[in-house]
Amino acid sequence: MFDKKYIDKLRKSSGWPSDERLNQGPVAVIECIEEIPCNPCETVCPKNSITVGNPITNLPKFHDICTGCGKCLVVCPGLAVFMIDRTYSETEASITIPYELIPLPNKGDIVIALNRMGETVCKGKVLKINSNKNYNKTNLVTISIPKKYSDEVRFFKLEK
């Protein structure tokens, strides 16, 4: 269901940043390719880097002026937005995931990084956990993973 073909479709969708912007630093990646009547991502973006327009079933269009603030990750009812930083280090990228489970991981934990099908991809390290009060219980957890998996990893689970 969320196989290679699905990822290609995502890459070509209007919510996906350009490769050029992806290589400049943390940027929001929207994985929303269905015409659902919904536009909080557009409303919350301080930089108008996301536009839905009228009618609100338009797919969200991503403009590369995103500064990586993360507000859209928190507000999306579908938890369909992630923050990816391909420039995190020489060999690694970082991905920030909207996370609404307990227990929260701790900074520095090693976690098992999962793809969109919940399959193990690689190991990851927890870099940051942002549980800002006005995120209304949607925590933002940032983990580092090998750079080549930045389009695949979309979740993680704690090592038992």
Partner: protein, 368 residues
């Protein structure tokens, strides 16, 4: 007592869920004397088990969690002087706008000038061998237990049905600490939004399309469930059956309106399977064919809490107009705004069929 008329009110709203509360608030804002009746101990209906953020746009409070919207409505209801009578069962709605209610001890009658029926819906069940075993329950029931009562009925779950309810409740079961092993879907595609499916898929839940439960096993309660692949004629493919160890099965195969009071008051119906079955018809002011009785929310077609709220507002405004509390000009503006908000919620591949169905309901209303 002689036909004990207990209470007179300008507008009686039956059901304190999203539709009922919004109708009450909208009317009370315009000075209507409103009383809401609900059989439950707490108001809010489905809102207080919905801990996810709502879709829609800013005017629909998109991005806000369901139970927070519930609290906002209760605050507004208090602010505008809406009387909410809890623990009040409405057992009868009579054509002469009399309403039979019973609270803890007494049975009595309410007389109203206008009535809104906002009684919501109930979940469908699905029969397969063993379907009556304990811990095979409606997905909404499991949602009530975890999000309202904060108890977890089971740790290893299979959900039947991949509509938004099946997907969201599976996600929320995992938030509550359970493991949803699989979501079984008879069709060849996910019924709800892919973004909801994505949430549970990346957490490891298998979404088995073209599958169904062939039987549930267990002595006193469900212990194992057999899932089989089905062909396009819904026949089980021999040899494809697989056993899963589970202690909870959630059935999410749609809902149907709780329309007993609508039948009783003499409303006319239309049969629309895509909206949940037999649907009481209404005009675009949400007025039913019984004079003075309006309907709003899931009782007149299964949609979501956000559409229920907008339908409630339309009814509330139309009633304020009908009772002469606002002039027609202002009424029309407010009505069009509410219908506009309602319209946007019924766009796109998930909304078009509902928009078409609602058009059919309104056409059918005028055909009577």
């Amino acid at each position: 007592m002689e036909g004990g008329v207990k209470l007179k009110t300008e507008l009686a709203v039956i059901g304190a869920g999203p539709a009922g509360l919004c109708a009450a608030i909208e009317a009370a804002k315009n000075g209507v004397d409103v009383t809401v009746f609900d059989e439950n101990k707490k108001p809010g209906g489905q809102l207080f088990k919905q801990i996810h953020r709502f879709f829609g746009s800013e005017e629909h409070l998109a991005g806000t969690r369901g139970f927070e919207i519930g609290n906002m409505l209760l605050d507004d209801a208090k602010k505008y002087g809406v009387k909410v009578m809890l623990d009040n069962v409405v057992w009868g709605l009579f054509p002469d706008l009399k309403i039979g209610i019973s609270d803890e001890e007494k049975v009595s009658i309410v007389e109203a000038q206008k009535v809104v029926v906002a009684t919501g819906a109930i979940e469908n069940s699905l029969s397969f061998p063993g379907w009556t075993l304990p811990n095979i329950m409606g997905a909404g029931a499991a949602q009530t237990m975890i999000n309202v009562n904060m108890v977890l009925p089971g740790k290893r779950v299979i959900t039947v049905g991949s509509g938004n309810v099946g997907l969201i409740v599976s996600y929320q079961l995992m938030q509550a600490g359970a493991e949803v092993v699989a979501i079984v879907e008879a069709l060849d595609h996910v019924g709800g939004y892919m973004v909801h499916a994505a949430k549970v898929a990346r957490m490891g839940t298998k979404i088995l399309l073209n599958h169904t439960i062939t039987k549930a096993l267990g002595d006193k309660f469900v212990e194992k469930v057999e899932v089989g692949k089905i062909d396009k004629d819904f026949n089980v493919v021999k040899g494809s059956e697989q056993l899963y160890d589970v202690d909870l099965v959630c059935i999410a195969v749609g809902l149907r309106p709780l329309s007993e009071l609508c039948w009783m008051s003499g409303m006319k119906f239309d049969y629309l399977p895509e909206m949940g079955g037999f649907i009481p018809v209404h005009d675009n002011n949400m007025k039913s064919n019984v004079p003075g009785i309006y309907i709003a929310g899931d009782v007149t077609g299964i949609e979501e809490a956000s559409t229920a709220m907008e339908e409630g507002k339309v009814a509330g405004i139309a009633i304020s107009q009908a009772l002469g509390k606002i002039d027609n000009k202002k009424g029309l503006i407010l009505l069009n705004e509410a219908r506009e908000r309602l319209g946007t919620l019924r766009l796109g591949p998930f909304g078009d069929f509902r928009h078409a169905a609602k058009e059919k309901i309104i056409r059918k209303y005028y055909s009577y």
